[in-house]
Symmetry: C2
Subunit: 440 residues, 2 copies
């Protein structure tokens, strides 16, 4: 058996604690699985963030993560502190420069600095592995980077944030309003005190930025992502979706188009009769459409100490076996600059819900606005919200009624223009709701 | 860039043809993806089996696969002929002995001879990769062998045969009888002229044998697998399942128990509200339950030239990158002998359908037979088959009525004894139907 692989760990929170526990639980069997012993030798952690479940008393403590990153004893620096810059970035860069392999679950760091860090890793001939950064325990990074490498990928998409999926699932199951479910989720620890990062779609976007680079061989470009959160989703939408055979999920989608790559995060209608519609609660999923393999989907837990530690360990094992690939599967110098497809050029079907005043001519005016933009309607229903009576987010002023439309394939630009005109016409009592339909 | 990796291919049928096409389509880009060129240099194929879609005119033809396997020019022997023994086994052994890496999609060969071939591969320091042998394009071999390596796995299961899944899906959608759907599937090329191998569960069992070894680190033991096919499933069962909130799928399941490992293939009830229930038509899926990662599921196309070629190419790329692991993820000398858990000790819920004569005391007799075996009933319904009127496989003699029961957790032995006694009592007009319920 070869020499042990010496690991330094920075960050012993939920995921770091999970890793300490996994390494302790597996013990000697991990050496057989990795081809050589994996030895955690030093740890850096903020005293007040120490994970009570993880016993780190037997490891050498290094106060400064940057010092740990360059520690002569370690071969691999595991960064589980988080944060898109600051000490996380500084220590990862220090480790790479010192010729240490790096394993991280830090999606924010990589979404913003993935290209430069990958370049640095390759320059120093070391690994920068990040299986835990995307969808927790779901092994999608390795699947795209290695298993599907024979394919040209046309689309990658998924449910990438457990908090949002939990909230949408609960809204549907309990018929509750967004704000009420959010409050409950915060109480139960499924949502942060400041939930903006999750429910606003930013966490999903971080992960999407990494999937895009892996799938399309482009440089990470977080700033190009179109982002909408789930705050605007009402029980009326969830009910109307249900009646029309759909479920609403927050998806991150990256799609190759003729004009470039679309990267978008938004609430999305998916058919109820699909596997993705059954991914509920805090579960995540990622789907990849390849030209030879067809459509592949992976489902699992997208967060938490155990699942993410499982991902981190697989990254460490690859390093133990000497299996070091370019971080995004393509050599950094071959990563193409990201070419953005404009969101207004997005093509697809749309769900539109309008709260329309019951006036003569209102509907004719709406229909003509849609027609003027060349939008054809697949189905239209006047929808009475069941939840509306109990506690919709929106009040139904006067005699306004919900009108729900599903459009045929059209463009984002056309829908936006039509809805702006409809709003200006004054036949609706609130901002129109618009949810994109994803073709599966 | 390193020297090219030279590949010899034996078998240019559906999968081999897909591989030839993939290599031709990807061209130079594959070299960048693999870190070095991948060059198909020689081919062995039976003239009458030539795939018209694959142009092999530019490759050197070697008539005898065994000669190709030892050809001095090749580094990798790709075996896509199929068959559990004969020329496939002979050529794979010859290649391994000659120090050539082997890639195969031959599940029958590995299910029967996996342990000895893995031993031979390791002895010669070469790869024996078989991603394409299990669930086609779904990258489950690498996921278990590498990505989930930090976990102890308690169960692996899946829908592993597209023909069976297509037949069950069609029976449900069209309300048709098994025999009629089978005939149609044969016409459309979804089922073989002799369908026994698929519908009898043997193909599923071959794949399960490989998953078991990967997941539990045991030697392959095909002969220990309990196998039931889908021939006995009637429209009445599918309807009753639907009414009770289940769907019927042919699953292969390997489960770690205290007395050993259960390996079983049988029609199975899964909850309709689950991702696995939405895996329909020719799609496959594999689920893995790990102690740290939780439950992971992979869904995709389980057969066909494109998906399987995608898998074969990922195996070749691993070899090109020098990433060679023990075939089953554990060194052959460390693979434990398979310890079988007896099927009669299987624990779970059961669906039982009886065609009961409408006689005083019949039901009381049945209930007492169940009680005598300690089986408690979760729900019981008298079920009138809708399809029964149109064309059930079973005739409803006299005034017999379907009684459908769902049991609480019990054992296979108890259910078998109870059903045997019920049959002996003479209150039923046909053999009781029994379908296991899998807890997801």
């Amino acid at each position: 058996m070869k020499n042990g692989l010496k690991v330094g760990l920075a960050g012993v929170g939920t995921v770091g604690g999970g890793l300490v526990k996994l390494l302790a639980t597996r013990g000697d069997s991990l050496a057989a699985r990795a081809g050589r012993p994996i030895e955690l030798v030093a740890v850096s952690t903020l005293a007040h963030r120490k994970n009570p479940d993880a016993d780190i008393s037997s490891f050498r403590l290094v106060k400064n993560p940057v010092a740990l990153a360059q520690d002569p004893e370690i071969d691999v620096f595991v960064e589980l502190m988080g944060g898109e810059g600051g000490i996380a970035k500084e220590s990862v860069e220090a480790a790479l420069r010192a010729g240490k392999h790096v394993v991280t679950a830090n999606k924010a760091l990589l979404a913003h600095h993935g290209y430069s860090l990958a370049t640095l890793a390759e320059k120093n001939g070391v690994a920068l592995n990040f299986e835990g950064a995307v969808a927790g325990g779901i092994p999608v990074v390795k699947v795209i980077r290695e298993s599907l490498k024979g394919n040209d990928i046309s689309r990658v998409y998924g449910i990438l944030n457990g908090t949002c999926n939990y909230i949408l699932t609960q809204m549907e199951r309990e018929g509750m309003a967004f704000a009420d479910v959010l409050k409950e989720a915060q109480k139960q620890g499924y949502a942060e005190a400041d939930p903006t990062f999750d429910i606003g779609g930013f966490d999903t976007a971080h992960k999407l930025a990494l999937l895009t680079s892996l799938a399309f061989g482009t440089r990470t470009s977080f700033d190009s992502i179109y982002i909408e959160g789930i705050e605007s989703i009402t029980p009326a939408d969830i009910e109307a979706a249900d009646d029309l055979g759909y479920r609403i999920k927050l998806l991150g989608v990256a799609l190759r188009t003729e004009s470039g790559i679309e990267q978008r995060v938004h609430p999305t209608m998916v058919p109820k009769q699909s596997a993705i519609a059954e991914v509920d609660g805090v579960s995540n999923c990622v789907a990849i459409d390849g030209d030879f393999v067809g459509d592949v989907m992976l489902i699992g837990l997208g967060a938490g100490g155990g699942p993410t530690a499982s991902a981190v360990v697989s990254d460490i094992i690859d390093i133990a076996r000497g299996h070091v690939l370019p971080p995004f599967g393509t050599r950094s110098k071959d990563l193409k600059p990201y070419k953005k497809a404009q969101m207004r050029a997005h093509e697809g079907g749309y769900y539109i819900r309008l709260s329309v005043y019951d006036r003569t001519g209102a509907f004719a005016a709406i229909a003509s606005r849609m027609a003027a933009q060349g939008i054809s309607i697949e189905s239209i229903v006047q929808h009475r919200s069941r939840a509306g009576l109990a506690g919709s987010d929106r009040t139904h002023k006067g005699s306004a009624a919900h009108v729900v439309m599903i459009t045929h394939q059209t463009t984002e630009a056309a829908v936006r223009k039509a809805l702006a005109a409809i709003e200006r016409d004054g036949h609706v009592d609130s901002k129109p709701q618009m949810i994109r339909i994803e073709k599966l």
